[in-house]
Each structure stands twice: as structure tokens, then as C-alpha cells.
Symmetry: C2
Subunit: 284 residues, 2 copies
């Protein structure tokens, strides 16, 4: 049986303090990375998003070499992971704090690095069916794009269905714009252009999303990052989701309707991403 391994501020530990502001106030950011054969995928791009999140929240940016050491320790110490495949989570909180919202002085952030092996390897990237969530994402430009710890909107949206046949839920914002899926970004191809929602008002700008945008540039596929709506989904020839762990998944069914069977660009983009090393992280 596989078990996770956590490293907390450099020490093997499975606990944090009850007064950690990550727990008491959601005061922090995190990253979730796929690990293949012991190597975290898109490591530098994840570090860039982590830095963007820290800057947005006024958190000290952890040193990359310190994090890398903690990641190696967590992967090496997790049991049942002979293949070295699994999921890595890096959580950075503002650390212990007193009562109230004012920033603690001094700030002593908490880093938690957890590796969970996938003995069966990473999930596949098949075509999936999705639904539309009724919960609408709130518009908060100050938190848009980053992966902060306050994820109740996604939790409530994900709780809207309990059908294993539905892989994801599409989410719109309170003004009716398509934003993302609960744990993935969304892309569509329409008349030879790759389109994806702008994430300047809400949503999380995923790492694989940045990879897809870079791959499109490399393939000279025109890109539009824009406000999109349900009509754009209907008009699309291809739709796909991106998530660092589950990869690229084509959407072939939305709310029971089918009609997106092409994979011309999604397959080419997926192949191109495999060739790319570090890509620029795109927040919007």
C-alpha cells in the first residue's frame, strides 16, 4: 500500500500548528504537480506561479533550492512508489499567527511538501463528459489567476454531482462568462483559432494552460484569450480541459449533448507540449 510523505519546513512531519493561518484564514497558496519517474513536471513554471501568488499576497517567496530539497526528500521517503510516479503538493501559508487579520510580525511561513505515489501511474487522458455547474464564480481581480487556499467555490461546485461518468464541471462567473472547470482550464478550437477564457477576474491560471498557449505559438495556431460564453462552446469544433495531474482531456459531451468529436489540434498540442521544456507562465 502506498502512503503519502509530508515535509514541513524541512522536517518529516504530518502536522501543522492549529494556529497556522493557512488553517485559520486560508492565508496562503499552493501548487499541485505531476511527478513522473521521480521528476516533477513543469517544475520551473510551477515555481513561477508560486512566486506570482506570493507577490500577490505579500508572502515571502521560498528559495527554489530549499523547495527542491524538500521535494526530493518527500519523493524519496514516500513508500510504495518504486516507479516514482505520483502527485506532489506544495503548500505555502503565512504560518502561525495570532487572532485577527493583521499580518503577523515577524512572518514565519509554513511550507508543506507532500508526495502521494500513484502505483498505477498517472491517469490517462481520454475523452470525457462534463456538466455545467450552477454555482457561479465570484469576480475578485485581486485573487484571480493565483492558486490560493480558499477553494470553497470549487468544493461546492464539485459537490453538485456524484456521477462517475461526469469528469468535470464547467464554471461561469457571476456575470455569465465561462471561466474554467472545477479543477481544470478550458480551451476550445473554433475556425482555426485556439480560444481560452481570460482569467483576470477569477479562476486559476493553470500550468498546463501556459504550456498549451506556448505549444500553440510553436505550432503557429492563432490564440485568443478572451471573454467566452456558452455560445462559443456550441460553436467550437474541439473542446479540451487541462490539469497538471490529469493532463489534457478532450470534452465530447456537455450536459448530455455530444458533437465535439474532432481531435486535430488537441492531439497536436499534446504532442508539442511533450517537446517543451520550461514555458513562460501566463497569469491571464
Amino acid at each position: 500500500m502506498q502512503t503519502s510523505c509530508s515535509v514541513v519546513n524541512g522536517r518529516l512531519d504530518a502536522t501543522i500548528a492549529t494556529n497556522d493561518r493557512g488553517f485559520t484564514l486560508g492565508d496562503g497558496v499552493f501548487e499541485t504537480l505531476a511527478v513522473v519517474a521521480g521528476a516533477p513536471r513543469h517544475w520551473h513554471t510551477h515555481l513561477r506561479r508560486l512566486r506570482v501568488g506570493c507577490e500577490r499576497l505579500g508572502l515571502p517567496v521560498p528559495a527554489a533550492d530549499v523547495l527542491a530539497t524538500e521535494v526530493r526528500t518527500a519523493i524519496a521517503r514516500a513508500s510504495g512508489s518504486r516507479a516514482g510516479d505520483g502527485v506532489l503538493r506544495i503548500t505555502l501559508s503565512r504560518g502561525p499567527g495570532g487572532r485577527g487579520y493583521a499580518l503577523p510580525v515577524p512572518t514565519e511561513p509554513t511550507r508543506v511538501v507532500t508526495f502521494t505515489p500513484f502505483p498505477a501511474g498517472l491517469p490517462g487522458t481520454d475523452a470525457v463528459a462534463v456538466r455545467t455547474c450552477t454555482l457561479r464564480l465570484a469576480i475578485q481581480p485581486r485573487l484571480a489567476g493565483i492558486k490560493h487556499l480558499g477553494r470553497l467555490e470549487q468544493i461546492l461546485a464539485r459537490a453538485e454531482w456524484d456521477d462517475d461518468g461526469i469528469a468535470e464541471g464547467l464554471m461561469y462567473d457571476t456575470e455569465g462568462a465561462l471561466v474554467e472547470a472545477t479543477a481544470a482550464n478550458v480551451f476550445l478550437v473554433q475556425e482555426g483559432t485556439l480560444r481560452t477564457p481570460r482569467l483576470d477576474r477569477c479562476g486559476v491560471a493553470g500550468i498546463l494552460r501556459s504550456c498549451v498557449l506556448a505549444a500553440a505559438d510553436a505550432l503557429e495556431l492563432p490564440v485568443e484569450v478572451d471573454r467566452l460564453g456558452a455560445a462559443d462552446l456550441n460553436a467550437a469544433e474541439e473542446i479540451f480541459l487541462t490539469n497538471s495531474v490529469t493532463g489534457m482531456r478532450r470534452v465530447t459531451c456537455i450536459d448530455g449533448r455530444t458533437g465535439w468529436s474532432q481531435d486535430y489540434w488537441s492531439s497536436r498540442l499534446a504532442a508539442k507540449i511533450a517537446d517543451l521544456e520550461t514555458v513562460e507562465y501566463r497569469t491571464e
Copy 2:
């Protein structure tokens, strides 16, 4: 020196698991209560808000007698609290969970009860100066009113000033309506009517806010719970803030402007609240 005491799921403990969804996803709610001479103030009203929060998030509601026992333990065990005055925090999270937003099955919630003594007694309730925060609250009706763990908006707003002379920051929503202060509700008295923002789109419906509304009813002071704006503040004769720990505080200065020197109704409401036992909890 005083030290806090935490009780985690009934056991004296100062830690929670790194995979607790309160830490990883902000998946939970909390209450902050004033404790006077060993007795939590407005206990039943706090329990009602906790229940409303649990219902909104689909969390099991903790048994009141279990919580009461944990609260007594935390207060009794905290050192340096001979007077029994202090602040109690009750945090309820969805407990340990795997990766992803889907609800864990089974759900084993985490209860953390922490008492922090105030050797010098609870803070006073003087007149205060406030400022207007630039951060606007996002509109999310599904989370409005409850005290959930995702408090980054309040943290970013509170980080906007570092002047001990400013007690609080007033917050507006993204559509320009006055909502609350970073850690308090806001009331104004205008031409013989008590007015306070509706909290159906964002904001936290405080316990002392419910007490003020009940006290106004008892005093036959007309009440309007409505959308308010900056013009209403300017037109007010009295403005005050409410917070369970800091109590009722009159606002006499906003962004350097003074002019709210009356305390006719705020003093009467404060006196009336002292007479009230349990009041109905008002979410909007």
C-alpha cells in the same frame, strides 16, 4: 505570561494533520467568541451561525454538548487566565481528505477549540477612526453571511494600512455597495432609523449585529437592512461598528473627516444588548 489552549476533537492538542481540508482548501467555518469570567458570550447565537455555516457547506453539525465540553476544557486549561476573560475560537473543518475537491467519504470533521486569555480584560469600546479600503469584496451569494475559512479578502484589506490610529477599514463590494469593515459589521443611524447593509451577496453576518438588531426592536427603533453606500455614511448622524470581541465602537472619523459625534442611539443599544439573553441569528 498567558498561553492559549487548544482542544482538537476532544483532545488537548496543538496540531492538525497537513492534509486537513481546512488547511489545504479552506474547507470549513469558524466562530470567534468573547469569554467573560469563564462564560462565552452569546453562546447560543454563535452556535446558530455555526449551524447555518455547516448547512451551507454540507458539513455535519457538531453536537452542542460536545462543543460545550471542549470549550470548558480549553478555558480551564489555558494558563494565566485567573479572571477567565479571553477569546475563544471554534474552527470546524471537513477534516482530512485526499487530493481534489470532491467531498471525502466518509467525512470526519475536525473541531478545534482554542481559548486565548486576555489578562488585561477585553478591549474597551471607545470611539474610533476608520478608513476606506481599496479592495472590493467579491459578490458570492453562496458564501455570503457565513464565517468560512477563506478570508484572504479581509487579510488583503487589513494589510492596506499600518497606522495604529486607524481601528478598522470599511469595505465595499465590487458593485459599490457598503458591506462591512474587515472584522466588524457597520451600522448607521439616520433620521431616527437604524440602517445596516444587507449581507445576501457577501460579508459576514456577525453575532453582535444580530444583537443590535434585536436591541433596536426592543427599543422600538425602526430598522432598515438594505443596500447602503458612501452617501448614506455622509448623511448619518451616528455610525458604529460591531464585533464579538471588540464590542460596539462608535466611528467618529472616516478617511480623516470627522462629524459623527452623537451617541444617542449607540449608547442606548449597547445598554440594551447587555440585558438581552439569546437572540435570533440574522443571516442577511
